[in-house]
Amino acid sequence: MINLNGCGLGLRSDFLLDIKKSEFQPDWWEVTPENWMHMPKVFEKSFEEAVFSKPTVAHGLSLSIGSACKLNKKFVKQVKTFLDRYNIEFYSEHLSFSSIDNKQSYELLPLPMTKKMINIVADRVKEVEDIIQRNLILENATYYLVPYSEMREVDFINEVMEKSGAKMLLDVNNVFVNSVNHSFKGRRFIDEIDKSKVAYMHMAGHYFDEESGLKIDSHGMPICSGVWKLLEYTLKQIDVPVMVERDNNVPPLEELAIEYKKMESICKAVRNGK
């Protein structure tokens, strides 16, 4: 379904200019349209070289797919222009909301898990897909509280995917963080997710916030052992491309390559049945 193979890495401006001289190259890149739609001239050439030399998928932040208000069509059209310009076939976003009535929080906020919300998201997915002329992929987001719920998260996600026809971006770190924060078994979540819908997977880091007693999905730390183990468990059931997502405290590319190579070796080992 998705033209990606092997492992990927989130492309960040922090190391963009180092890619050419680096010996390390991921199998594919993931880019955040909002961060590259406007870019300094000094980045243009390196960005084009990176995305045109490797398969690239886009992963957005500001779509706010679950907002129970009007879609920002102007923004979606801008995303389409970006995807067309760089020949990017796949566009993923978060199953959450971040804005309401045109006011932005710039944070991924949790959706009420209700039947009606599923319908709202399903309609919204179709609206977005009509504009971008591509299939949308939705990621399971982290949430630190459930504002309102009629069902379990896994059922909510499965039904959203079923009803909307969207594919899923399975964020393994988010499953881990949510499972700890909300006391459920991450492995059970993986067992119950509709595997036929998963297009690709994210791996990322998080930290523990002592004040709230919650794990926070920061993308600013190395991936912890619990998340690596959950990936291994997941790969035995879901054979799709996986990538490292790092957004904060971004280390040099060579340091990220170490984490990438660890992920690659886990993938190979599981796929070879070792």
């Binding site: 932040l61 920002n72 932005q104 959706l111 009420p112 209700t114 009606k116 504002p147 309102y148």
Partner: protein, 239 residues
């Protein structure tokens, strides 16, 4: 009033839940029921703070942490609509000026403008401009990668709280890929402001000279070199 009630009644649970959640997070309201709201409030605050501090580097040096924090909390209550995080800074700049948050230190508004324009020009999509040449017969225009601005404080010499009327052209330097500025005199500032597509730069200058009772030929001689330089820098370009 009745209409509002009807409208509100039509809101779904989903919209009500989202509105309530958003309101608590954006208005940084206390919620004793769960500390998780506090987590969201902090995450939102940090997101805004990070962009504001990284954009307004010079400004951040001249404002206390407490005052800055307070202004960010106020700003979050009036959140921007742009989907692009880097543009938050421009809305913050406009917000604090409109709300007169730093009216006792008015130079801060100019520092905010100065820092923001640098980012805005830096992020502007590059388009090739034809080989720049200067002729008095051509029409010239401020390039999309330049701004001219009158400042009332001496911020370029870092005497921020000293009043000094000065005029700057801020532009993208293609040789070093950086945003630079240079001070220009009031006459060039006005000439660039008045420059338009319909008339040559010579004609614009002529009219300006008449208005100010200045000898046209003398002005032409004095201004030719600085204008040539601005054209070569692509700070102004031929229409």
């Amino acid at each position: 009033m009745a209409n509002n009630k009807t409208k509100k009644a039509k809101n779904s649970i989903e919209k009500d839940v989202q509105n309530r959640f958003f309101d608590i997070v954006i208005n940084q309201k206390d919620n004793p029921n769960t500390s998780a709201y506090g987590v969201y409030q902090k995450l939102v605050f940090y997101r805004f703070e990070e962009i504001i501090k990284s954009t307004f580097i010079e400004f951040s040096k001249y404002i206390s942490e407490k005052k800055l924090e307070k202004s960010i909390y106020e700003f979050i209550k009036n959140p921007p609509s742009t989907p692009f995080v880097w543009q938050i800074a421009n809305d913050y700049r406009k917000f604090v000026k409109k709300q007169k948050l730093f009216h006792k230190q008015k130079y801060l508004y100019e520092l905010l403008y100065f820092d923001w324009i640098e980012v805005e020009i830096y992020m502007k999509e590059y388009k090739k401009i034809k080989k720049p040449t200067f002729s008095w017969d051509n029409s010239y225009f401020l390039s999309p990668w330049s701004r001219i601005k009158k400042f009332n404080f001496d911020i370029i010499n870092k005497n921020h709280d000293t009043k000094r009327e000065n005029f700057l052209i801020i532009y993208y330097d293609y040789k070093i890929d950086d945003v630079l500025f240079r001070e220009i005199n009031q006459f060039i500032y006005t000439l660039i402001k008045k420059a338009n597509k319909k008339e040559s730069i010579s004609k614009t200058l002529e009219l300006l000279c008449k208005e100010n009772e200045i000898d046209f030929n003398e002005a032409k001689e004095i201004l030719e070199e600085p204008l040539k330089e601005l054209v070569l820098l692509k700070a102004i370009y031929k229409v």
